[in-house]
Amino acid sequence: MSKEKLFMQAINEALDQAMEKDEDVILLGEDIAGGANVKHLEEKNEDSWGGTMGITRGLMPKYGRERVIDTPISEMGYMGAAVGMAVTGLRPVPELMFNDFIGFALDSILGQGSKMRYMFGGKATVPMTVRTMHGAGASAAAQHSGSYYGMLGSIPGVKVVVPATPYDAKGLMLSAIEDNNLVMFFEDKTLYGTKGDVPDEYYTIPIGEAAIKRGGEDLTIVTIGKMLFVGLEVAEILEKDNVSVEVIDLRTVAPWDQETVIESVKKTGRLIVIDEANPHNNTATDIASVVSDRAFDYLDGPIKCVCAPNTPVPFAANLEKLYIPNADKVLREAAEIIDDLKA
């Protein structure tokens, strides 16, 4: 059975079902339960926060504090602990509250978790899923609003997932936890309150597969995370000009689905990538580079990357709105490559 659920519920449900299924799945992070050792909460077996955004609410009361571990504010240490848990047989799901805190935990991922299997000649397995929150749009300012999936996606040995819908969030989360590798799972804080159909049962969505969210013939728009909705908006607008847009939600940014993207570009001959990350050395540029190599002969015009500007995320709401890629910006870029179609 499928019901309409919030994005955040989809994630909670996925975690719940993963924990139900496998007792080696253990969550850890700052205040993912909250209220540890608070007597009046202990007596009632209650959590307090269930994560800053309440995503993990209710899991501690159900699975206990051994499996929903509140950590001190010690990101490098507990992320390293997750690596140690994984390599000794558990399936930890550590949370890095905001992806912007990556600077406090990076070595545990870059130096340890991602390289271990390789350095040890294939004799170590590191099945862990790092949950983290990204994205601008909540007036959370420069240290709490970045999008660093591209940075993490550049690391060999790391898989990176960025779901855009509740359905994908649940299925990809379950895949990530089943995966025998280090997976970074990015949750856009501004999507938590969005809704969509989500099956009640356990299901997985393969990591590495993009989803064609709208078929089209003239222009391919590849999107990451909530940029999907910008892509769909643009597609609607262009439809009125008789430009048929194919919108591909990348879903996994490392490894990303080269076949689906290239097939689409071979058909449409035109590509726009929308990525909320800062503009350099990101997933959008990676896609542009692969396509400009592998599908060069099919291209009818320049590849356009629509990204955030090369600035930190500003606080003031009007500036932050300008910061995030939007339909206007995409349409401006599109204009350059669909001129002929409209004429």
């Binding site: 700052e30 209220g35 050792n37 001190p72 500036l319």
Partner: protein
């Protein structure tokens, strides 16, 4: 090679510990002599300052609820005595690093109320042109090296500012404010160690308000107190009642004096509590609204100081009331200024990434 295992250099085999001298676990309040160091003017300044912080915070709360202030807002109300008591020893030449709960530190260090309020409203007239917001208020010219959205983000910056002061042979000091939760970040360890080996002119002021978000200090810290961690860094550690501004003033004064004289860093743990949630919107189910914790929560540092100041003949009740009125007016003006200020211009998005 010989087999005499017992032959070790004396420096290794014989090590003295001075734990007892280093750390004082008793929670201090103002001593009898504290009042002698307090002029009437100082007392007024400090009281006005605490009122400014309190009023700033209550207004921030109000306008956040009204939807005029966006983002995350972490209020300092309840902890005023710490910022005030510490910063009362500092000039614009001295530096502080602050935290996500930074309004109080910035007000106490001389941050302009209007510029601060405009900043948290996201206006072009804000101290950071509205581009930083509540967690990133700074004023380098006033020695405010920034509130900081990263827990532990201030340790390194403060240490660096202290290296500067020492290198420049200036007597400026640095105060690094941080929470009980922040004391579990690795960079706390790194910076206290460096500050100690280099005898830097810095004071680490811990604000132990019992909680890091929804996690109690008594759960997250292996040590019972933050102060005793000073042992690991061979520096003095003291605990002071963080709701008693006279006590904070006295204790911080000694540490700042030591730092200015080149005698090295001190770790001060100020025991306190926050009046409101971790951030606005927090239901605070982790707080006990009964028993000891509630009693402590109910102690108001402003009232504590009113009583103290009146009792000791430093200020009259009328004077205090007048200062309160003034403060309310000042903050109201700041709000008005913020409200009437324009949003940043669109170009501001692209500016200030690089210096020329």
């Amino acid at each position: 090679m010989s087999g005499k295992a017992q032959r070790m250099p004396e420096s290794v085999s014989k090590v003295e510990t001075s734990f007892k001298e280093l750390v004082d676990l008793e929670v201090r309040t103002a001593t009898d002599t504290a009042v002698k160091n307090l002029t009437s003017d100082k007392a007024k300044d400090m009281y006005k300052n605490m009122e400014d912080i309190r009023n700033f915070e209550e207004n921030a709360k109000r306008y956040f609820a009204a939807g005029e202030i966006p983002g995350f807002v972490h209020l300092y109300a309840g902890e005023e005595a710490i910022a005030t008591g510490v910063c009362a020893h500092l000039t614009d030449e001295d530096y502080i690093t602050s935290t996500h709960r930074g309004h109080g530190h910035c007000v106490a260090k001389g941050g302009d109320l209007k510029g601060m309020m405009a900043e948290i409203f996201g206006k072009a007239t804000g101290l950071g042109k509205g581009k930083g917001g509540s967690m990133h208020i700074a004023d380098i010219d006033k020695g405010i090296l920034g509130a900081n959205g990263m827990v532990g983000g201030g340790f390194g910056i403060a240490t660096g500012a202290a290296i500067r002061n020492k290198y420049k042979k200036s007597d400026r000091v640095v105060v690094c404010f941080f929470g009980d939760g922040a004391a579990n970040e690795g960079v706390f360890h790194e910076c206290l160690n460096m500050a100690s080996i280099w005898k830097l002119p810095i004071v680490f002021v811990n604000e132990n308000n019992f909680f890091a978000e929804a996690t109690p200090q008594w759960y997250s810290s292996a040590s019972n107190t933050i102060a005793e961690r000073a042992v690991a860094y061979n520096m003095p550690g003291v605990r002071v009642n963080g709701k008693d501004v006279a006590g904070v003033y006295e204790t911080a004064g000694e540490a700042i004096e030591r730092a200015r004289k080149g005698e090295g860093p001190t770790l001060i743990e100020c025991v306190t509590y926050r009046n409101h949630g971790h951030f606005e919107g927090d239901e605070q189910t982790y707080k006990a609204d009964f028993g000891e914790e509630k009693e402590w929560a109910d102690v108001d540092p402003l009232n504590v100081f009113r009583e103290y100041a009146i009792e000791n003949g430093l200020v009259t009740e009328e004077e205090l009331d007048k200062l309160r009125e003034e403060s309310i007016k000042d903050v109201e003006e700041a709000v008005k200024f913020a409200q009437e200020s324009p949003e940043p211009e669109p170009e501001a998005l692209y500016e200030d990434v690089f210096a020329d």
